[in-house]
Every structure is written in structure tokens, then in C-alpha cells.
């Protein structure tokens, strides 16, 4: 079957009233669940699995991929409006989205988030269709040492996140890495830095930490120094036009393309998902930008990078799932389980026997990404009404959402305590100009870094040289060193110029 026939067959499956209706429902629920803090994309997909029992396998995967893609996008809505990342992958969106909203440009930020998410999603869907098998085999060549190098590449952004406070950003990042080590050691089976607390044996949970660092700390800040939202020019969303000029769009074209490719590649790698993609995309754009100082202060490029990358990872994670039966992340794993419930064995034989699977998922992802833009605007408008509520009502509501969202992730009240303590830590960090974002980056990548390094060392029987001298690993590590050193040199040169002038 050639590509055109395949696409026609896929379109025939997707463009039926039932499937279109389910994609629409999947979009609405995905965006809403994604916008609720504590409901991750994987959780949203898992909650929707029972509804797939009434559908055929192709309809099921189309529906679940709609939920998945739109949940990742939905996470960006509260990230912009309230600085609460709806999903972990939208933590990066808060860096530039919330400052834009504070400047009265929430509409602009939101439009950019939706369009760049759709762009990333569509590009990754094309990648999935065209190079599905080739990309999966490339992804499978990545062993533990290469995955360690990729995660380390993500950490190399630490020196360029805030060049004026490099040391404080590095301390924040290292603290995040240290927090990621607190848990039961998987190899030795002994508690590590848990200080006798049983709760810490499972490690520091990521969602409560992020929600606390970004949302609770903001409420504490508002308690001390309230911002008068009503006085912000253009209000928050109602009066803020959803418009970007042509030159602004044009200026973002390479960011969108680069981050789409990066996000797709990261999505293909097992274990690395939308969260890592968004951090890597953001870091890459800081390094390539002529104005890195704008990042974190409402940069359109930063916002575009984060959202394009995390949504591009959704298509990427479908590649190994469809062609090899290997889920690229948690959401993909739930999709495999849903297909298994229907008696479908996902793996290389599936695409040979039923090639329409690939094309149907492709068409459904295109439809989802287009539909998502309009549905998200409606949901965002609904959410933005909350901002008009006076802060004495909104503040408690944000804390309540943060607490219940953190609790819902694992049904553990200890997570609520972590959220509140992380909020206090986030407040102190922000007051002393440390970087909660860098801490989150360390926490996200710490586990991946350590586990893959230990695996790689074990495979090479303790020979570190062999671990680091593998061609891909060595190249990536050299890049890391360059990325770490360049901002330091750049800052020194800038300081020297400032002194001379």
C-alpha cells in the first residue's frame, strides 16, 4: 500500500461521525484535565480508558491520542494565567507565560501557546508517518550512556538560564539534583538521605514540588506584596487581544521548526517525555538567542520553545509505540494497555498486518491539533474569568487547587505537605534571586541522569572511559562542556566591556 492509499484509508476511518465526535470529546476532556493541576496527561489518558471499550481499536487509539495531545496543551493555560503548571511539561511555560500575563498580554501568550503546540503536534505527526520505523531504530541505538549524556545536555542549560546570577542558578540546579537522589536506592535496596522518614522512600514527588514552587510561592508573594490585577493594562484575558503581529510570527519560525524536530526526537527516546523535551527546547533556544536575558521575563521565543517541544514529543512517543510496541512514556504505556484490553498486540507485526493504524493515528492527530486550538480558547476563556475574582477569594482557591491537585496524583496527604513546604522554599528562593526553575530542572533530570549513568557503568564493568567514549555520548558530552563554558566566557567578556566603557 503506497502512502496516498494509506492516507485515504486512514481518512476513511477517522472521518466518520463517531470517531470525529470522540476526538472532539477527547479534546475537551484532555484540555480540561490538562488545565487542572495534578492531573497529568498520563492520568487523563488512564481516566478515559474505560470509554474506549465501546470503540474499535483504531477509534480507541485515535480518541486516546486526542486526550493525550490536548492534555499537554491544556497544561499551558493555568501556567500562563496563574503560574500553576497544569501538567509537569508546562512548568517551563510559566517562566515566560506568567510574566506576559502580568504585563496584560495573556491573550497573546495563549494564542502563541496554542498555535505553537498545534505546530509541534502536526510536525511530529508527519514525522511519525514518514519516518516511523527509521526513527524507532535510531532511538533503540540509544543505550544508557547516551541517555545519560542527553539528560546531562539538559542540565548544561543551568549556566545560561540567568547569566547575571549564574552561581545561584547552579546552586538551585544542584539542589534539585540532590533532592532527586532522596529515595530508596534501586540497586542497593537501602534508604538514601531519607533520615528515617518512610514517606521519602518513594522519593520527592515531582508534581507537588512543581505546584508548590510555582503556585503556592506566588500566593505567598501576593500575601506580602499584592499585585492589583485590575490595574494591569488590558486586564488579563478578556481585554487582552489574542493577536501577534506578522513580524512576531515570522521571528518565531526557526524556533518552531527547531523545537518541533527536537521534541519529536526526545519523544521517541524511551523514558524521556514531554517534560524533558520542553526543558531541552527552552535551553536550546536560550543558547541560540541573541537576547538570552529576555528569557524568563516574558520572552515569546521562550514560550514558543517550551510549548512546541512538549507537544512535538506527543507524536514522537507514538513512533516506538506503533512500530515496535515500546511505549515512549507513561501516556503511551496506558495506550498500549488500552489496546491490549481489546486484544490488539502492539508490535512490529501490527503495522505490517494493519497499516491503517499508522495513517489513522496520523489523521486523528492532525484533526486533534487543529481542533485543539479552538477548544482550548474556549476553555481558557472559562479559566480566565477566575482572574477577575478578587485575590482574597482567588488566593485560597489557588492553594486549594494546588493541594487537591498534588493529593490526586498519588492519593497521599504527605504530598500536600510537600506542596506547602515547596511553596515556602520557592518564596525564599525567589526573594533571594535563586532559581526555582533550575531546581525543577535538576529534580526532573536527576533521576534519569543517575540511573542511566549507573546502568552504563555496570554494562561496561566499571570502566568509565568506555562509558564516555561511545561516539554519540562523547559528542553530546563535548556539546555539554561547550554549552556550560560559553555563557561563562560571554558573561566575562560582557563584564570586561562594561568596565572598559
Amino acid at each position: 500500500m503506497n502512502l496516498l492509499d494509506l492516507l485515504v484509508a486512514g481518512a476513511n476511518v477517522v472521518f466518520t461521525p463517531t470517531i470525529l465526535l470522540f476526538i472532539c470529546i477527547g479534546n475537551v476532556t484532555g484540555v480540561i484535565f490538562g488545565a487542572l493541576p495534578g492531573i497529568s496527561a498520563a492520568m487523563a489518558v488512564a481516566l478515559m480508558v474505560p470509554f474506549t471499550l465501546t470503540l474499535d481499536p483504531i477509534g480507541s487509539i485515535a480518541f486516546l491520542s486526542a486526550v493525550y495531545c490536548s492534555a499537554i496543551t491544556g497544561g499551558g493555560i493555568p501556567a500562563i494565567l496563574f503560574k500553576i503548571p497544569g501538567t509537569p511539561s508546562s512548568a517551563v511555560t510559566t517562566f515566560d507565560g506568567f510574566p506576559l500575563a502580568q504585563r496584560g498580554q495573556a491573550g497573546k501568550a495563549l494564542l502563541l501557546v496554542l498555535v505553537s503546540s498545534a505546530f509541534g503536534g502536526i510536525v511530529s505527526a508527519f514525522a511519525m508517518l514518514l519516518v516511523s520505523r527509521q526513527l524507532s531504530s535510531l532511538g533503540l541505538q540509544f543505550g544508557p550512556s547516551e541517555l545519560f549524556a542527553i539528560a546531562f545536555l539538559g542540565l548544561s542549560v543551568l549556566t545560561s538560564m540567568d547569566e547575571d546570577r549564574m552561581l545561584k542558578t547552579v546552586i538551585s540546579g544542584l539542589t534539585g539534583l540532590l533532592l532527586a537522589t532522596i529515595a530508596m536506592d534501586p540497586l542497593e535496596g537501602t534508604p538514601r538521605l531519607t533520615f528515617g522518614f518512610v514517606y521519602l522512600l518513594g522519593g520527592i514527588p515531582m508534581i507537588p514540588m512543581m505546584v508548590g514552587m510555582f503556585a503556592v510561592s506566588e500566593v505567598l508573594k501576593q500575601v506580602c506584596n499584592p499585585t492589583e490585577f485590575d490595574k494591569i493594562d488590558g486586564g488579563y484575558l478578556k481585554d487582552s487581544p489574542m493577536r501577534l503581529s506578522f513580524s512576531e510570527w515570522w521571528g518565531l519560525k526557526w524556533t518552531m521548526i527547531r523545537c518541533s524536530v527536537l521534541g519529536t526526537l526526545v519523544g521517541i527516546l524511551p523514558g524521556a517525555g514531554a517534560t524533558i523535551a520542553s526543558f531541552l527546547g527552552y535551553g536550546m533556544e536560550i543558547k541560540l538567542s541573541k537576547h538570552p536575558e529576555e528569557f524568563g521575563n516574558g520572552s515569546l521565543t521562550g514560550l514558543c520553545a517550551s510549548e512546541t517541544s512538549n507537544n512535538a514529543a506527543t507524536g514522537g512517543s507514538m513512533v516506538p509505540l506503533l512500530s515496535l510496541g515500546i511505549p515512549g512514556g507513561n501516556s503511551a504505556a496506558v495506550m498500549v494497555a488500552a489496546l491490549m484490553l481489546q486484544g490488539v498486540q502492539v508490535g512490529p507485526m501490527l503495522l505490517k498486518a494493519q497499516p491503517t493504524y499508522l495513517s489513522s493515528v496520523f489523521i486523528s492527530m492532525i484533526v486533534t491539533n487543529v481542533m485543539m486550538v479552538f477548544i482550548s480558547i474556549a476553555v481558557a476563556k472559562m479559566f480566565s474569568k477566575l482572574i477577575k475574582i478578587p485575590y482574597y477569594s482567588l488566593g485560597p482557591l489557588i492553594i486549594l487547587f494546588a493541594a487537591v491537585g498534588s493529593y490526586a496524583a498519588q492519593n497521599n496527604t504527605g504530598d500536600v505537605m510537600v506542596t506547602m513546604l515547596a511553596g515556602l522554599a520557592g518564596y525564599f528562593m525567589a526573594e533571594f534571586k535563586y532559581s526555582p526553575a533550575a531546581l525543577t530542572l535538576g529534580l526532573v533530570l536527576g533521576d534519569i541522569c543517575e540511573n542511566n549513568l549507573r546502568r552504563a557503568v555496570m554494562i561496561e564493568h566499571g570502566d568509565m572511559l568506555n562509558v564516555f567514549s561511545r561516539p554519540i555520548t562523547a559528542t553530546l558530552l563535548v556539546l555539554c562542556v561547550i554549552f556550560i563554558i560559553v555563557p561563562i566566557i560571554r558573561k566575562r567578556m560582557r563584564d570586561k566591556h562594561a568596565l572598559l566603557s
Partner: protein, 166 residues
């Protein structure tokens, strides 16, 4: 000495303690060539000890340089309203387990909105009731998240209130 330097010194001491404490009393791995569980944390801690020490030095130098900005007094940095807000949050985080979601959330919402400026009693109580009810319906009924019911009499109260809402 500034608050930041004190926090940094405490953190530095904690890092040194962790560096010594991590991996103590753990038997070496039987797998040949495997990295021990303390190797990675110790590498990070070593980096942290160096970075925090340098940061203390730089902050001290900056604070004592001529024309350095005045230090923020503790009372200004953490006003009573801030401390009270955080105590309420802690009370909520602990209380949710014992008082149950419905009772603790209602108390938290009304008390917190009072602390941050709401003075109308009816709005306070109505706000507490509505937000508790809405969150309960969304998470417990629609999303099937088992919210805590508390212990003892509070569990009975939660069950009775749940019956009312449902």
C-alpha cells in the same frame, strides 16, 4: 549578618552532614564494577559545598561593599500576615488527614480569605462552602479521586456531608 548568609551557612552545614552521612553502613554492592548508591549524591554534594561556600563569600563581600543596599529587616521580609498564612497552609496540610477534606477545606478557605483581606462574613462562609463543594464534586465524584475523610467523629461528619452533597 544577613538572612541570606544565615540560610546559606545552614544549608552548607546540611550538605556537609549529608556528604558524611550518605552511604554510611551500607554494604558494598555485589555486582562487579557497579557504582555505589552514594557516589552520585556525593558528587552533587561536593559541587554544592564548593558553590555554596563561594556564594557565602560573594554575598558577604557584596553586602559589605560601599554603597551596598540596606538589608531587609526580618519583620519586613516575613510580615505577620505572611507567617499566619503559612501556618494556615501547614494546618490545612496536616488537618486534611485528621479532619477530612470537607471540614478542613471549609475552615481553611474561610480563615485564609479572612487573613488576606476579606471582611464580609457571609461572603467568607459562602465562598468556603461553594469552593469546597465544587472541588469535592469535580475530584471525588467526576474524577473518582478518594479525598480524605478524616478520623473519628470527623469521619462520621465527612460521611454525612458526602451523603448531603451526593
Amino acid at each position: 549578618m544577613g538572612i541570606e548568609i544565615i540560610v546559606n551557612i545552614v544549608f552548607l552545614l546540611f550538605c556537609v552532614f549529608c556528604f558524611i552521612h550518605v552511604g554510611v553502613g551500607v554494604q558494598p554492592l555485589a555486582i562487579p564494577g557497579a557504582l555505589s548508591g552514594s557516589a552520585w549524591p556525593r558528587t552533587i554534594l561536593a559541587g554544592l559545598i564548593v558553590a555554596v561556600t563561594l556564594n557565602i563569600y560573594l554575598t558577604y563581600r557584596k553586602n559589605h561593599a560601599p554603597g551596598a543596599p540596606r538589608e531587609i529587616p526580618f519583620k519586613e521580609f516575613m510580615p505577620p500576615k505572611f507567617i499566619l498564612s503559612f501556618v494556615l497552609m501547614l494546618f490545612y496540610a496536616i488537618g486534611i488527614n485528621y479532619l477530612g477534606f470537607i471540614v478542613s477545606t471549609f475552615i481553611f478557605i474561610t480563615a485564609f480569605s479572612y487573613v488576606i483581606g476579606l471582611r464580609e462574613k457571609i461572603k467568607m462562609i459562602f465562598g468556603g462552602l461553594v469552593s469546597t463543594g465544587v472541588i469535592y464534586i469535580v475530584f471525588q465524584i467526576f474524577l473518582q479521586v478518594m479525598l480524605p475523610r478524616g478520623v473519628g467523629i470527623f469521619r462520621e461528619i465527612s460521611l454525612w456531608l458526602e451523603l448531603l452533597i451526593q
